[in-house]
C-alpha cells in the first residue's frame, strides 16, 4: 500500500544568500506534498538610448526626441533620461555667440525646453522615460524648444550651447 507522505516544513531563505541549500527537518508521518518555491534572477539589463548629436533651435518652436531601442530591463526598472547640465532653472538653454574677439561683449540667445507643455526644469529635467518592452517609445513625449529670442539687432554669428544628458536605470 502506498501512502502519501508530507515532506515537512520548509524554511524560507533568501535566494541570494543561499550558497548550498537550506533544508527543513522532515521526520514524516503522514500528509501530502511539500511545495517548494523555484526562483531565478536574470540581471542582463540592456538598452540603447538615442540622443541627437546636434539640436538646432530656430526662430520657431521646434522639437527633438530622445529614443530608446532594444530595451531589455527588469519589469521593476525603468530608464530615465534627463539633462544634467546646460539647462537652467528656467528650463532655458543659453547659447553664446562664437568667435567673438577678446575684450568684446558676447551676445547670447535662449530657448526653453518643455515636455508636455511644461518646462522640464519643473520635472527634474527629465526628457525620457523608458520601460521594459517600450522600445523607442518616449513616454515623456517630444521635447519642444521654444523659438530663440533673436531679432534684427541680434549680432550675426554662430551661437552654441552644450547640454549633457544623463541616463539612469532606476527601480520603480
Amino acid at each position: 500500500m502506498i501512502k502519501r507522505i508530507l515532506t515537512g516544513v520548509l524554511a524560507l531563505v533568501l535566494i541570494m544568500s543561499v550558497s548550498e541549500a537550506a533544508y527543513a527537518a522532515n521526520i514524516t508521518t503522514d500528509g501530502g506534498t511539500a511545495s517548494v518555491p523555484v526562483t531565478y534572477t536574470v540581471d542582463n539589463s540592456a538598452f540603447e538610448i538615442t540622443i541627437p548629436a546636434v539640436i538646432r533651435p530656430s526662430d520657431k518652436e521646434t522639437s527633438f526626441k530622445v529614443g530608446a531601442e532594444l530595451v531589455n530591463i527588469r519589469p521593476d526598472e525603468y530608464i530615465e533620461v534627463s539633462i544634467s547640465s546646460g539647462c537652467d532653472s528656467r528650463s532655458m538653454v543659453i547659447m553664446k555667440r562664437q568667435n567673438v574677439p577678446a575684450g568684446k561683449p558676447v551676445s547670447t540667445l535662449e530657448t526653453q525646453f518643455c515636455a508636455g507643455g511644461n518646462p522640464i526644469g519643473g520635472n527634474g529635467y527629465i526628457v525620457g522615460h523608458f520601460e521594459d518592452g517600450s522600445n523607442i517609445v518616449n513616454s515623456i513625449g517630444d521635447i519642444s524648444m521654444s523659438a530663440v529670442n533673436a531679432n534684427e539687432k541680434t549680432e550675426a554669428g554662430d551661437y552654441l550651447a552644450t547640454i549633457e544628458f544623463k541616463v539612469d536605470l532606476k527601480k520603480k
Binding site: M1, I2, K3, R4, I5, L6, T7, G8, L10, A11, L12, V13, I15, V18, A21, A22, Y23, A24, A25, N26, I27, T28, T29, D30, G32, T33, A34, S35, V36, P37, V38, T39, Y40, T41, V42, D43, N44, S45, N72, I73, R74, P75, D76, D132
Partner: protein
C-alpha cells in the same frame, strides 16, 4: 498321564464342606501330590504336595499354573487328554472349573449334558490317591468306576473351550448331570471380578464403564481420551496406577472387585509458533499487522495466548495479536502460552526526506533520504522510500507573468556526474536505505529577459 503338578485353588467356604479329612498326603501319580487339607481349611496345590492355604484371598496366577503344566514346557506332554490338558484349555480359556464328586465304588456314572460338552474325569480313592487318570467324557458317556473309587474329579471347561462364552455359569455340571454322583465340591473355579472404571469422575471428560475379569488372564482396559489432558493410567483403589493393562500375575490390589479412576495429566503447550518471524511496519500512520499464533499440541489446555511487546511505544499489540506501529524503532512481540512462547521482531521504519527550502534554477541540491529501522538486507517486506517530483516546472517572470519559461528536473547520483533529465515515470529517489541524490532545475531555453522568476515545485514521499 500327569507329568506336572497342577495348582488349584479352592474357595474356603467350599472346603468346609469337604467330607474328607486328609491327614496324610494323597498322590495322583508319581511325585505329584494332591490332597485335601483338613476340614475347614482351604485347598491348595503345589508342585509336590497339597498345601494348606493360609491366606484365603490368595489366588494363583497363570504363571503359577504354567509352572505346573507339562504341556507348557513340552508340547508333546500335553497330548493324551490329561488333567493338564484340561488345564491347558483352562489356560486358554481361563474358564475351567474343577469339581469333586462323591461316588459309590464300583458304580457306573453317566454324563448328561444339555449341550455338547466335555469333561475330564479322573478317579480317586478315599485318600485321594488317583486310581485312574481318566478320559474325556461327553454327554451320554458312561464310566464304570473301580471298586476303590470314592471320588471323581471332573475338570471341565467352557463349551468346546469357547472362550467367548462368559463365566462358565452356563456350564451346569453338577451331581444331577453326573448320574450316580453326589454332592459336588468346587476345587477350583475361575475368578470373576468386577471392575468399575470411572473415567469421568474427575471432570466428565470420559465415560464410565465397567469390565469383568474372569480367571487369571490379563485384562486390557480402555484408554480414554479427554480434551486437554493426557491419559495417565487407571488408579486402583489400592492407589496403584495401571496403564491400560492389568497383568495376569497375582496382584492383590486388583484381584478383587476394584474401582479404577482415570488419571489425567494436563497437556501443556509445548510450542508456540507465529506466522511471521519478523515484520517491517511504517511509523505513525496507523499501520497494523495481525499476527497469528499456533499452539502445539493442538489439544493443550494452554489455548490462551498472551501477547506482549518489548517496546510498546514502537509497536503495541492487543489481546488478539494485532500489532500497531508507533514511533520508529524495534520491538519484539512475544506470544506466550504456558511456558512456551514465540517471538516476532518488529521493525517500525521511519524516514526523513530533506528537500531544499527553495530551488534556484541551475543550482544543484542534495535530496537527503534517511531511512531508519527498515529491516535488514535480504529481508522481505522492506519499505521503499520513493521521492517523487514533477518532470517539468514552469516559472513566471515577476511583474510580467506573461513571460514564462519551462524548466526540467534533472537528477544525479553523485552530484558531480552527469545530470540526467528525470524520465517520465521515474522517481527522484527510490530506495530502501538512506541515500543522497542531487537535483537541479534547468531551463529548457535560455532565460534572457532580466528579472526575477518564480514558480513552485512539489516533492512527495511515497512509501511502498
Amino acid at each position: 498321564m500327569i507329568k506336572k503338578i497342577i495348582q488349584i485353588i479352592a474357595a474356603a467356604a467350599l472346603v468346609i464342606l469337604m467330607p474328607v479329612q486328609a491327614a496324610a498326603a494323597a498322590y495322583w501319580s508319581g511325585s505329584s501330590v494332591y490332597h485335601p487339607d483338613k476340614q475347614g481349611v482351604s485347598w491348595g496345590v503345589t508342585s509336590d504336595r497339597i498345601t494348606k492355604i493360609t491366606s484365603p484371598g490368595r489366588v494363583y496366577s497363570v504363571s503359577d499354573i504354567d509352572g505346573y503344566s507339562a504341556y507348557m514346557s513340552d508340547e508333546e506332554e500335553r497330548i493324551g487328554n490329561s488333567i493338564e490338558d484340561s488345564f491347558y484349555w483352562y489356560n486358554q480359556s481361563r474358564l475351567a472349573y474343577v469339581k469333586l464328586f462323591k461316588v459309590k465304588a464300583g458304580s457306573e456314572v453317566s454324563f448328561v449334558f444339555s449341550n455338547e460338552f466335555y469333561v475330564y474325569c479322573a478317579e480317586f480313592d478315599q485318600t485321594f490317591h488317583m486310581i485312574e487318570d481318566g478320559d474325556w467324557m461327553a454327554t451320554g458317556d458312561k464310566c464304570k468306576l473301580s471298586s476303590k473309587t470314592a471320588w471323581i474329579m471332573v475338570v471341565f471347561r467352557q463349551v468346546n473351550g469357547d472362550t467367548s462364552l462368559g463365566g462358565g455359569v452356563d456350564t451346569k455340571v453338577d451331581a444331577v448331570s453326573i448320574k450316580n454322583s453326589e454332592a459336588a465340591y468346587v476345587v477350583f473355579e475361575p475368578f470373576k471380578y468386577n471392575f468399575k472404571l470411572n473415567g469421568g469422575r474427575l471432570n466428565g471428560g470420559a465415560a464410565d464403564y465397567s469390565k469383568q475379569r474372569l480367571g487369571v488372564n490379563s485384562i486390557l482396559l480402555d484408554t480414554p481420551s479427554r480434551a486437554g489432558y493426557k491419559f495417565a493410567g487407571w488408579k486402583a483403589d489400592s492407589g496403584k496406577i495401571y496403564r491400560n493393562y492389568l497383568p495376569a500375575e497375582y496382584d492383590k490390589g486388583i484381584f478383587k472387585d476394584t474401582t479404577f479412576t482415570a488419571q489425567w495429566t494436563e497437556i501443556k503447550a509445548a510450542d508456540v509458533s507465529l506466522d511471521k518471524e519478523y515484520a517491517i511496519m511504517e511509523q505513525n500512520c496507523g499501520d497494523t499487522l495481525k499476527l497469528t499464533a499456533k499452539i502445539s499440541p493442538s489439544d493443550t489446555l494452554d489455548k490462551q495466548i498472551t501477547w506482549s511487546s518489548s517496546n510498546p511505544e514502537t509497536a503495541s499489540v492487543d489481546e488478539n495479536g494485532l500489532v500497531t506501529a508507533g514511533i520508529t524503532g524495534e520491538a519484539v512481540i512475544t506470544a506466550a502460552a504456558g511456558n512456551a512462547k514465540a517471538e516476532c521482531h518488529i521493525y517500525v521504519m521511519g524516514f526523513e526526506v530533506s528537500v531544499p527550502a527553495s530551488c534556484e534554477i541551475n543550482k544543484k541540491y542534495p535530496i537527503k533520504v534517511n531511512v531508519y529501522n527498515n529491516g535488514k538486507d535480504g529481508m522481505t517486506g522492506r519499505k521503499r522510500v520513493i521521492v517523487d517530483t514533477e518532470q517539468n516546472v514552469s516559472v513566471s517572470r515577476v511583474g510580467d507573468e506573461t513571460v514564462k519559461y519551462n524548466v526540467s528536473a534533472e537528477v544525479s547520483k553523485t552530484g558531480n556526474g552527469n545530470f540526467l533529465k528525470l524520465a517520465e515515470g521515474s522517481y527522484l529517489a527510490d530506495t530502501t536505505d538512506s541515500a543522497t541524490i542531487y537535483y537541479r532545475l534547468v531551463p529548457d531555453n535560455d532565460i534572457n529577459r532580466p528579472g526575477d522568476y518564480k514558480g513552485n515545485v512539489n516533492f512527495s514521499v511515497l512509501i511502498d
